[in-house]
């Protein structure tokens, strides 16, 4: 019975992906992408990866969909730009892509012996970290260096986006009223939803230590609430030269780095935690990271500054 549901979901996913490639209008393709992301989140739940499903729904389809939809709306008249490939070359490309798909499918269908897995190792050392969620343990204890570097990559991407501002707007604020002209209904929405959204984000960050959730998912919900409030005109977009904004952006990775360096003195080495305080340290780092991720993702989706404050 579950296999029938899986087959239906897979047919929908592949069909919607193919439709997105084929459709002519860019705005329609972007809306199809948002739907595709939500279906992908259901596929992740079927694969027993609930943390990844939350992340995909929030980042992969939520905030990325908003970003791409705004860009597609701005680029509405440019559908015909660029020269399409000639028909023989399109056939060659299709054949090559089919070959790649077929070889991946053949690898998938190979008979599986016992698959190599790190799950027993992860569970063995889980009580030393004090956490209940093994994915959070991997993100913040076993592979904490990856998470720290990922935060730095986010900041670098933000600096890259800011550097695309025109010279006259450097140090100014991104403008968010390209999306929708501020109206009273949007202002009403931006006044009733963010309180619930903030509680939801705090809950997801806090419970990420034992249940699926975590800093990334909670931080993304916070970022989306902030973007909603800025789009409705209730709060103005901060200028990027603002000192407290820059401190908010850096606070998360800086705290993570400080905790990591303190590991030299109070534990085994860089990014190691003393077993008695491991959970407390990890939760503090997660809270700081959630705030920084909220600020970074919100500013990434807002785009480069376009007007002087």
């Amino acid at each position: 019975m579950a296999v029938a549901f899986d087959i239906g979901l897979i047919v929908l996913l592949v069909g919607i992906g193919a439709w997105m490639i084929v459709v002519r209008d860019v705005v329609v393709a972007t809306i199809i992408f948002v739907v595709y992301g939500l279906l992908m989140a259901i596929a992740w739940v079927r694969l027993s990866a609930v943390d990844v499903a939350l992340t995909e729904a929030a980042i992969g389809s939520g905030i990325a969909g908003m970003l791409l939809l705004g860009a597609a709306a701005r680029l509405k008249g440019t559908d015909a730009s660029g020269t399409r490939l000639s028909f023989p070359m399109t056939i060659v490309a299709a054949v090559l892509c089919a070959v790649i798909s077929a070889s991946l499918a053949a690898v998938m269908l190979l008979p599986t012996h016992a698959a190599p897995t790190l799950a027993p190792l992860a569970m063995q050392n889980l009580d030393q970290t004090g956490l209940g969620n093994p994915v959070a343990a991997v993100l913040f204890a076993y592979r904490a260096l990856d998470t720290l570097l990922e935060k730095v990559v986010l900041l670098l991407a933000l600096v890259g986006v800011w550097s695309l501002a025109p010279d006259r707007a450097w140090g100014g604020a991104p403008s968010l009223d390209n999306y929708v002209p501020p109206s009273d209904i949007l202002a009403f929405f931006a006044q009733i939803l963010p309180p619930f959204g903030i509680v939801f984000a705090i809950y997801m960050t806090w419970t990420g230590a034992t249940n699926p959730g975590g800093a990334f998912q909670g931080g993304t919900v916070l970022a989306v609430m902030w973007l909603l409030v800025m789009m409705a005109g209730i709060m103005r977009a901060p200028s990027i030269g603002n000192a407290w904004l820059r401190w908010l952006l850096v606070a998360g990775p800086a705290l993570f780095l400080v905790v990591g360096l303190a590991g030299f003195f109070i534990a085994a080495g860089f990014l190691a935690y003393p077993p008695a305080y491991a959970k407390a340290l990890i939760v503090v780092v997660e809270i700081a990271l959630a705030i920084s991720i909220a600020a970074t993702l919100g500013l990434l989706a807002a785009g480069p500054p376009e007007r002087m404050q």
């Binding site: 109206s183 209904i185 009403f188 929405f189 009733i192 939803l193």
Partner: protein, 91 residues
């Protein structure tokens, strides 16, 4: 007792699915944007409410039941507001 709950769940979710199909048919067949939105929001919200009602006997504890109902309420609120915004953009 649990089999009665399962039958209730199956019935409620089937009714909800029927309303979703009705809303989709309205989306495809109605002539212009306001009528399509009308069909979509009315039928889909009722369908989602029936699906939520059907899932309530399957969860354990009042907290999980409240979470399901709050999902329905959030979908209701955002559906209503987005409908108004779309109609304003189209007119």
């Amino acid at each position: 007792m649990s089999s009665i709950m399962d039958v209730f769940t199956a019935l409620a979710i089937s009714c909800g699915a029927f309303f979703f199909v009705a809303g989709t048919i309205g989306l495809l067949r109605f002539p212009d944007v306001p009528t399509r939105l009308h069909a979509l929001t009315k039928a889909d919200n009722l369908g989602l409410g029936l699906v939520t009602l059907g899932l309530l006997p399957q969860v354990v504890g009042a907290l999980a039941a409240l979470k399901l109902i709050s999902v329905w309420l959030f979908a209701l609120i955002s559906g209503a507001i987005v409908t108004q915004l779309i109609v304003r953009a189209v007119r």
